[in-house]
Symmetry: C2
Subunit: 866 residues, 2 copies
């Protein structure tokens, strides 16, 4: 079967997609023929990063065909080739010289590539697909674009996206490019790396820190996503100090390193923290010499690489200047002094840069982060030199705090945005799952770009997983932000991006449904993090709690339907992106809803409280099982440790509690009589028959028996056995009704029992305690007589319930009373024949409308002094 | 691994269950050792039915171990054996004679067996497990009990229940018996065999009727379930005429045949119908001779077998006497004549029986069915001779019509019950799925037995599938009805029966959850059949419709969780019993709910109507895919044709419509303006922001853009792009509010956008058209100032919405008016800054309580003349 590559580079309007062709079609260049891929020619002295990417491309062909593409460094006998290179490649230079390719298209461009099919590119070669980059990263992006096009997702490793086998692949001839990036620096910040990332790295690499093997995988992902920048994990890890190959690997692979907003001068916080005894206080006022020396060593180490230097300073461990570590939101009220100090610090920092690099400070890229209180200093007038990137930030929850004014936009160093999809801070940490609604992220990032923030975008992604999608969206928007602007069809671009993302991971056919489900999942998760959720988040009595749980359950059912419809090889990826987070969050919702129900019923001493308590405990247990399944079973346990974040038991913002803790439940002792009265402002009460307040069994020994599950809703109640007389048996229901109603209509909903004992049928006595009861026959017309059979008999029995109504007087009513209050009354129902199953009771004083289920049960109030 | 058989025969209180032992334990007899089963000794001249069952037992051992048990007819070298036989077996006689077994336990018993381990039972045999029956069926039940105990479900064939491999099996020594049946005749009625059973038989056997191969499988199932009786399918099939091996097979295997209530004298309706041209009218008045002759041939054919003879007569094709075929509920008002005629008919029928059999009529078991109008004749005094079983019936929907009085109970022939879980008739056929709530069936069957109806129970099961569980429950109750009486713990017996049933099909561990889900499924399905369901069944506006759909979806999610947790070999069975019927019914619910929503929105010319229309069509399509999956994929397509019943498109009771038909939907043309006004009696209206009635874009060109999915519920609305001025833009919402309110509180719920353009923040103008608007700043305090950061800023942004309230005046109010009516007003919202995303609006005149989702959207009324 011939497989034609879809055309990519959608930014090149001259290229048209085609879906059908054959290998002999001269409009196509063959990449894979009968399972064998083209060889790849690369100049061995070309940029190391490109050589690494080329090697990955070779393996990607292997993933697709079963045979790695051969990498050659010299022209051999191959007549058809893939040629990759930067402008420095000798092969590229030769093709350029012979005018076989036009490299002027890349002139002055940053991180760009062209991909095109060239006839007779080099001596002895008939035809080649040539991928040339304006620079190392440009060529790498071109190479990984080819990987994507042959069917290798950037997430093949980090989300176990399967690679479909293909026997024949061809690319339509044309000139392809993804253009230049809209945002110059596009990066991720690995933050709060414990316990998840730390555990996973330990389980995977045996190290207590991320070493170069770990970071190489992160770098590869970033590059496949066309990113170029990383702030490494910094809680207990130290990128520079833990493994000196880390920095080297970054430079070789082509990823620019930075340090977080509070780690100036290319040094990790841990580099200071681990030597605090030796270094003393992280305080520029009292300990300047040591701090300056610490800064200097950072620049000395970084002077020959691409790393972007963070300047400025915060307090120790991400606290505000003058604040305490761990109190990073503390307000320290000495702005004037701090501003003066920061001016001095930054001047000294730039002096160190100049001294160490031997070049003017403006020759080395720097960034200054206006995170938290630092933005206030900016607003109060603190400024940095023209060349420094000013990094604005969101509020840690995805809302942009500030955009530059038109005037500020003139700052030549440009503006950046530090954005979060994971956060350690108030009101509660958000570290467990992806809770960012897609539209919210788009809305804020499009405004970020619209207001001119395009020099640096960095995304705080926590442990990296499970933030797969927000990472992709962030990188896609950073590369091609204009497409996402409303005036360029922003929302439809977003929609297409989500669908394309899902198609890349699950295939075209499954994409729309996966996108629909995933979109709703992000939306629902955006309502409240698991960390913030508790029994009181939603309103119980209006049905809101149940509604939100039901929405999750519906989505879970739909996701499970899709999961089952997937080829098994796709299920690991689906579980990571959709099924696990959905089931896990749904379960947490079920748990807190059950807790809310438990507390409500327990307050009434109602035995159903115990069922809900069981449910809380079952859900709590299930939470750990779901996480264990993620850790131990997905992709054969590949992600062991990645899903170990605490998320149940928060009581303040941080997670300083020993372990997930089951929410508190109350048990109701069966010996305690429930003590409640039904009440409602809706003009009626609806009561489940098993919820009687008191009962009297029959003198004969027949007992009131609750038949769980009988009837349309909760259950039925009947005197059993049926062969004993029913004398003196009675059920009593407590309720509060308005004093100004002197009569009410009672609906007795029973099973549609036929008059099996003969005429007149089954009789009940109904009345209020202290009043005069009425007698009623429930099934008098349930027979096959011509006047009943079609109008009453069949319609009733096929729907299995009888709704018998009777109007009864209310004792102690005050129909003309000046004030309407609610008074307690007890409804008594006494069967006069055996075989009646009572299922629901509605007492209506004017508000009831017939519905199939006879209305949800009314609220109850606890009766304190009966 | 040693596997010990659980002890069965729970009716034998002398036997105690044990779970641990070893093969060398002298308390146990080894049935399977290292994968090899004992041989089975049977007298080859014993009852054919037993020989057949023994052969099945041999294969059952094969299913368990991979090796069929060897059947031997003579003593050989085996020292340990299983010996099976009736009291007529020469081996049994020998053991009885040598007093190795005590057959007196079976004396005078019906359909009973004992199972016991005997030392030196026969010469040269050290030890044997002996299974002896009081008669052929008793011995067969003993044999199949052993099958069950070694792990073969009675449903292994009809529901593809997997058989677990076991290497070692032993039975605890003891004396086991299941006692005698509580109900003498326990049977099924295959009814309405087209299209499902007919299609499946055609696909499976290539015949247009059920031949003896088909019936042998049915008989085997009945016997494994300890039933003994069958009314064969009779719509277009003729048991006796289609294949003369049918009747022979029944007799050989040990199943007693009957004919349905309207097919007297052991003849099938089709035997007359196919020859109507020749025979003339089915009318005893005008065509007695032919009819009598027809009767006589039935008895001649049946005279040497066990078949129970149905006597009496209905009209042609199950119509009442004197009625028309196809009108079986017709009321024919000539009871006196009919009764006289029936007396004559039955007298003649008994005369024919006597003539043909050569014995008094009372020597041949007969049954007279009081189905439908025939019960009236009984009530009017029509009687049958003492020996005839009087068969009462339910109403076709599972409610017992009548029980015998104490006096009537003295009728020596005894009483029977004809019960339904499948019905062709009013108000709509119920043929597609199992819709009988478990508790309802128990409740009516326990009363059946409690009132002395114990001679014959027969269950109308339609096509047999998917009625697996009701069949099992029916047979279990018929065998051991006393256990199910309330005074003997009826409900807990029922609960245990359901759990045991699920354990037998899915294993002990999965049983409780399967039982819970299945029980709820039956309960929900009992509310309404798919055939009766339509868009109006449930109330839309109270949320009832959504509630019932959500209940199904929750259950489906739970079933899918369980399905995935099953070993794959169990999934076919689970799909048949639980997952298919649940998904199929849930889908039908989703379909009609979507139709209800479609019609509601269409009535308002609201574009969302189209989404719901799509949903109806998607569900309709999915219905056919689910059925196709049942037919084509379960057990590799084994049940092809079994799920072909029409169930969408009923408009009267019968299914005389060509095919399932997609429910009608309405499409809303996007050009038509929606025309509605929000209204509510709850003291407020809540409105989803995208549901504005009119909008004005900004003069600058900024346009109102709906961001689907943003916000907590439906979506957000924003003027975009943000970089253009917002001048003159406005949204207008229509609503009706009480005239006596001169001011209201408006909640404007927006995204928690920060004041990213600087102080004072984002401003809105809010007011009623024709009134004086007020200006409000939505995010004035959304900043990190100490007074805001923890109290306002973080709690708000982490929850992603802002609720800004403003009190505004209502124009044209009449606060002192005598009558309170609702008048139309238009709320106008105008942004004064770009970047505001409006998500929900609540206009409160006194009834609103804060909830997390700002209340479900209020109802709307259509405005006819704007």
């Amino acid at each position: 079967m011939l497989f034609v590559l879809p055309v990519f580079a959608i930014d090149n309007p001259g290229v048209v997609a085609t879906s059908k062709s054959s290998l002999s079609d001269t409009n196509f260049f063959t990449l894979v023929s009968d399972g064998l891929p083209c060889s790849i020619l690369v100049d061995e002295s070309d940029a190391t990063g490109l050589l690494i990417a080329t090697n990955n491309l070779s393996h990607d062909f292997g993933r697709v065909t079963g045979h790695d593409a051969q990498i050659i460094n010299d022209l051999g006998s191959a007549k058809k080739l893939i040629i990759v290179g930067t402008l420095e490649s000798k092969f590229v230079k030769a093709m350029s010289k012979s005018k076989q390719i036009d490299t002027s298209l890349l002139k002055g461009k940053v991180e760009s590539y062209i991909m095109t099919v060239v006839g007779n590119p080099l001596s002895g070669v008939d035809e080649a697909l040539v991928v040339v980059g304006s620079d190392m990263r440009g060529s790498i992006y071109g190479v990984y674009e080819l990987s994507e096009q042959i069917g290798v997702s950037p997430w093949y490793d980090w989300m176990d996206v399967p690679v479909e086998r293909k026997e024949n692949l061809a690319i339509k001839k044309g000139l392809y490019t993804a253009g230049e990036p809209a945002v110059r620096y596009r990066g991720l910040f690995l933050n709060d790396e414990a316990p998840c990332l730390t555990s996973w790295v330990k389980n995977t690499y045996g190290t207590n820190y991320g070493d170069h093997r770990f970071y190489a995988r992160v770098f590869e992902l970033i590059l496949r996503l066309r990113g170029n920048y990383l702030w490494p994990a910094m809680w207990s890890w130290s990128f520079y100090a833990d493994d000196e190959l880390n920095s080297k690997t970054a430079q070789e692979m082509g990823v620019i390193m930075g340090t977080s907003h509070h780690e100036p001068m290319a040094r990790n916080h841990q580099e200071w923290a681990r030597h605090r005894g030796e270094y003393g206080a992280w305080d520029y006022v009292t300990n300047q010499k040591v701090v300056d020396d610490f800064f200097r060593k950072g620049i000395e180490r970084a002077k020959d690489n691409e790393d972007i230097i963070t300047i400025g300073m915060r307090g120790d461990g991400d606290a505000p200047m003058g604040g305490k570590e761990g109190h990073d939101d503390e307000y320290v009220a000495r702005d004037k002094e701090t501003i003066a100090l920061l001016e001095r610090i930054m001047a000294n920092q730039r002096k160190i840069i100049k001294d160490v690099t031997g070049k003017p400070a403006e020759k080395r890229q720097q960034v200054w982060a206006l995170y938290k209180e630092v933005q206030r200093y900016y607003d109060l007038g603190l400024r940095v030199p023209d060349d420094v990137i000013i990094l604005l930030s969101d509020d840690n929850w995805g809302h942009v705090r500030r955009v530059p004014s038109k005037e500020e936009l003139k700052h030549p160093g440009g503006w950046g945005m530090y954005y979060h999809v994971d956060y350690v801070g108030a009101p509660r940490n958000s570290k467990w799952l992806n809770v960012t609604p897609i539209q919210n992220m788009w809305e804020q990032l499009q405004l970020t770009y619209a207001y001119g923030i395009d020099k640096l975008w960095i995304l705080n992604v926590g442990d990296l997983k499970p933030m797969e999608y927000p990472i992709s969206l962030f990188m896609d928007m950073a590369w091609n932000a204009p497409k996402y602007l409303p005036e360029n069809g922003g929302l439809s671009t977003l929609e297409r991006q989500l669908n394309d993302f899902c198609a890349q991971q699950f295939g075209e056919e499954q994409a729309p449904e996966a996108a629909r489900i995933f979109n709703l999942l992000c939306k629902y998760n955006g309502r409240s993090t698991a960390e913030m959720l508790d029994k009181g988040t939603y309103d119980l009595h209006s049905g809101e709690w149940r509604q939100v749980v039901d929405e999750y359950l519906k989505l879970e059912a739909e996701a499970l339907r899709q999961y089952l419809s997937l080829e098994p090889s796709y299920r690991d990826a689906y579980k990571q992106l959709i099924l696990f987070p959905l089931q896990a969050m749904c379960n947490v919702y079920e748990m807190y809803y059950s807790q809310a129900m438990n507390h409500y019923y327990a307050s009434l001493s109602w035995p159903e409280a115990n069922k809900w308590a069981d449910n809380v405990e079952r859900c709590f247990k299930r939470d750990s099982l779901l996480c264990a399944d993620y850790n131990k079973n997905i992709a054969g346990g590949k992600w062991d440790g990645m899903m170990t974040q605490k998320h149940i038991g928060y009581f303040m913002w941080n997670d300083n509690f020993p372990a997930d803790k089951c929410p508190k439940v109350f048990r109701v002792n069966g010996d305690v009589s429930p003590n409640y009265s039904f009440s409602s402002s809706q003009g009626y009460v609806s009561i489940e028959a098993p919820h009687y307040q008191e009962s009297e069994d029959a003198t004969s020994g027949a007992k009131w028996t609750t038949i769980d599950g009988m009837g349309r809703t909760l259950g039925g109640v009947a005197l059993m056995p049926y062969t004993l007389p029913v004398d003196n048996a009675c059920l009593r229901y407590s309720m509060h009704i308005p004093t100004n109603k002197d009569s009410v209509t009672v609906h007795i909903v029973t099973n549609s029992t036929l008059p099996f004992l003969g005429a007149p049928g089954h009789r009940l006595k109904v009345g209020f305690q202290g009043g005069v009861p009425k007698q009623v026959v429930i099934n008098e017309r349930l027979n096959e007589n011509p006047e009943n059979i079609y109008s009453i008999y069949y319609p009733t029995v096929a729907r299995r319930v009888l709704d018998t109504t009777v109007r009864i007087a209310v004792p102690n009513a005050d129909p003309n009373g000046l004030f309407v209050v609610y008074h307690p009354v007890n409804l008594e129902i006494a069967p006069l024949d055996p075989g009646i199953v009572i299922e629901k009771i509605v007492v209506d004083w004017g508000g009831y409308t017939d519905t199939f289920l006879f209305s949800p049960e009314s609220e109850t109030v606890r009766i304190v002094n009966r």
